[in-house]
Assembly symmetry: C2
Homo-oligomer: 476 residues x 2
């Protein structure tokens, strides 16, 4: 397995692994044809077999000559009842039977990414001189691709930029949506770099029963919540696809470049598309891929086409960027680096992620404190026992307790969090969480000057943007 | 077949026919379930069977419940040797075994379009007060969809606009490419309407082994040839997709709308795409469809979304617009009307169309008179006999004579043409054609003001645009 460990650490994609098996197979054939020594052939065959094992470990499929890994990406369970411990993760669905949530170590192996280990966290601390964010310390951002390359660049004073996004599927964002933004804000702060934020209103129009107009409206509403996170107003560009594609001289050209280098077979494998899917869905992955390349933003990066991109996102978005990384070298661009977060659990438990399309699973940024309290009390899966008496006698279980999970996301102070855990588990008392839907208003200029003047909706946003704060408080 | 004739005249698409069969099938089922009278059921079944016959006639396929007509469009021959008289026509290939060219009457039946008959030509003459263009008189534009709707609109003083285009696959256009432009210029003149001309440089990048930059360069070179046709400078907008998508607030929104309403199954059926095709090709038909809707050009039509479009094009482009017409009502837009031309024959004969990718089959607008003469003498398929003696004895055959075919395109005067035919056929003497590659230069402003200022390449074109003229002269 040494080879595969090696592979994972160099972040080989399934396609790269496939190509290595193919190349090694050809080598074996040519050795045999050239009547090489038995030893030489044996060694080559041994390596071939080990590469095939690596390929199967990474993709869950046997290597088949001539059939690239089309089905490697969504980790699908083989029917709902067969394999209990398999998790389903794709950009639209997260589902596991485990109350503690998805098995993220397995996900790293299957996706072929690398774990964010102590060494990497220490390096970030050393280079930036800042205490690592609690999302790093607690494994909330747990996986990466090529983060060391980004740190090398930073040490060598080479520029890079951040890219994250949001699919505006509802008027209000929920607290789970904040995770990548909170972390991205920290990254922007410690590395002092530009940031682009894509609002995929086109995606939501294509996937949901929405009009174009509604999707645009959601994008504007969501932009307000994002602006409220407080990004650097001079280094942040928020855009809606439906708007920006019609005002950028670089974006569509990159979309077409990407679309030329990805086949239907590939997106079928990666995203599970079928022949009955609309051609908009089928070609959309290129739209989410394009912001990974600096030439999509000539108004920001001018003619610099080799500025590396770092993408903080929830791991369910990784399939888009595995595709992007496969394409990048073929169109002369750098592969984007990635930082992956775990999912934010639904109120009902960590078996699935919080989802805006299910209001009962979610706490929205527009919910009032009273609404939030009711939701927590009514829906939040509890690690406590059924009665106060039993709970006092046997203690609670923070590992499955949704309120406690939320605390791990939002209580920055490690000591305070540990104390809360003790209270919950050992002192055997109730402790809940409440979010507070109000806060300071951000009226700031969060958009770079777009190529042809301001966004039509920019003025609306700048004067209307909402704000929010998250309060952690005991629940009576 | 009355029903089908009726269908053709109302321009039902295969999808519409499919839906009518499905609806009638449901009616039969509900009549049977409701124990209706035998007479009633028999009548419904009879209509169902006749609708199925119409469907098969239009698509070449048996009706199959739940399977919309995915393969109806490209008229494919079943293998190269089986059916001699079947023609192959799709947007990329035209091939027939008949020296007289494709059987256009059959094409009308298969595509489900309508013949441009004497009555329609008379109506055009009556309404416009102009002698119909010789392309109409000679059946070079031979087929249409909803042209009467356009004439109704014109009579009622309702606006409409023209849309045509060019895939810039080579630096120089050939004379065959001029046919839709020459006719469009005439339409613009007699109806005095706006015109948009799409240069699908994105398509050529996706289909050919071209860089984005090369495709853009070809678009510029081709624009010069198109400008040289002499369109109304105040009513013509020429655009490159790779440029215009990044500067229009309306175009991409329409592209996404179309892409949401077309499945991979449909484009597979219409264009013959496979799973190995890149997602750029698969989604491209929406890009060619978008200019059919006036809201793709807010800088021209402002917020008017109901201006009807008339598309003059060679009939091989019809699959794009059959798809467009299927989609239009579902996204709240008017179906574009169409005027279809026959193909311009290759030098080697009417079995295939003139193609820019085969220089020996084509006369380019940049060819010198000497080059043209050599090409005609060397490559043009002749209806004459092998020797002068035999020719004088038996006469020639203008029906397969490529030089004579070209004369029918370019000699406007009917009497002069008839005389040339007599000379060729009966006076049994040689008569050839030569094109002349020089002519007046057009430096005119052929672009509407784009939404955000001039095209970057506009100035280059306006000062560089070439010109050409076509001379018909005897060949010694």
């Amino acid at each position: 397995m040494a080879d595969f460990e090696n592979c994972v650490s160099c972040s080989s994609s399934p396609l790269e692994l496939f190509e290595r098996v193919t190349a090694q197979g050809e080598k074996v054939r040519s050795l045999k044809a050239g009547k090489a020594s038995t030893d030489e052939i044996d060694a080559a065959v041994k390596l071939l077999l080990s590469l095939k094992v690596n390929y199967k470990t990474a993709t869950g499929q046997d290597y088949k000559a001539g059939s690239p890994p089309v089905d490697f990406s969504p980790i699908s369970n083989n029917g709902p009842t067969t394999i209990q411990d398999e998790d389903f993760v794709d950009p639209w669905t997260v589902q596991t039977s485990n109350a503690k949530g998805v098995d993220y170590d397995k996900l790293i192996v299957r996706f072929g990414s690398s774990k964010i280990d102590k060494e990497l966290i220490n390096r970030i601390e050393r280079i930036t001189g800042k205490t690592p964010h609690h999302f790093l310390r607690r494994g909330i951002f747990f996986s990466h691709r090529d983060m060391n390359q980004i740190l090398d660049a930073y040490e060598n004073k080479k520029p890079f930029y951040l890219y994250t996004g949001r699919g505006p599927s509802s008027e209000a964002m929920h607290v789970g949506h904040l995770i990548p933004f909170i972390f991205t804000k920290w990254l922007q702060e410690v590395f002092n770099v530009p940031l682009v934020i894509q609002l995929t209103d086109d995606e939501k129009y294509l996937w949901k029963d929405l009009t174009i107009q509604k999707a645009c409206e959601y994008a504007i509403e969501n932009a307000k919540d994002i602006i409220a996170c407080g990004f650097d107003i001079n280094k942040t560009f928020i855009f809606s696809d439906l708007d920006y594609l019609g005002m950028s001289s670089g974006f569509y050209k990159n979309v077409v470049k990407i679309q030329k280098h990805v086949t239907f077979n590939q997106v079928k494998g990666i995203f599970g598309f079928t022949d009955s899917d609309c051609i908009g869905k089928i070609s959309f992955p290129a739209i989410q891929a394009a912001p990974s390349f600096s030439s999509s933003f000539p108004q920001i990066f001018k003619d610099k086409k080799d500025i590396q991109c770092l993408i903080p996102c929830a791991i369910d978005q990784d399939p888009y960027f595995r595709m992007t990384r496969d394409v990048a070298p073929r169109i002369g661009y750098l592969k984007p680096a990635l930082l992956h977060s775990i999912f934010f659990p639904a109120l009902q438990g960590a078996q699935t992620k919080m989802s805006a399309s299910d209001p009962n699973s979610s706490i929205f940024l527009t919910d009032t404190p009273k609404q939030i309290k009711t939701k927590i009390n009514k829906h939040a899966f509890s690690g406590g026992k059924d009665t106060i008496e039993e709970h006092r006698k046997y203690g609670g279980n923070c590992e499955v307790d949704v309120s406690y999970m939320y605390l791990t996301f939002f209580v920055e102070d490690d000591d305070k969090l540990e104390k809360m855990k003790q209270v919950r588990n050992q002192l055997k008392d109730h402790y809940y969480l409440s979010f507070h839907g109000e806060g300071p208003s951000y009226n700031q200029d969060l958009l770079f000057q777009p190529p042809h003047g301001r966004y039509p909706w920019y003025n609306a946003i700048s004067s209307l943007s909402k704000g929010f704060s998250i309060l952690v408080q005991p629940c009576e």
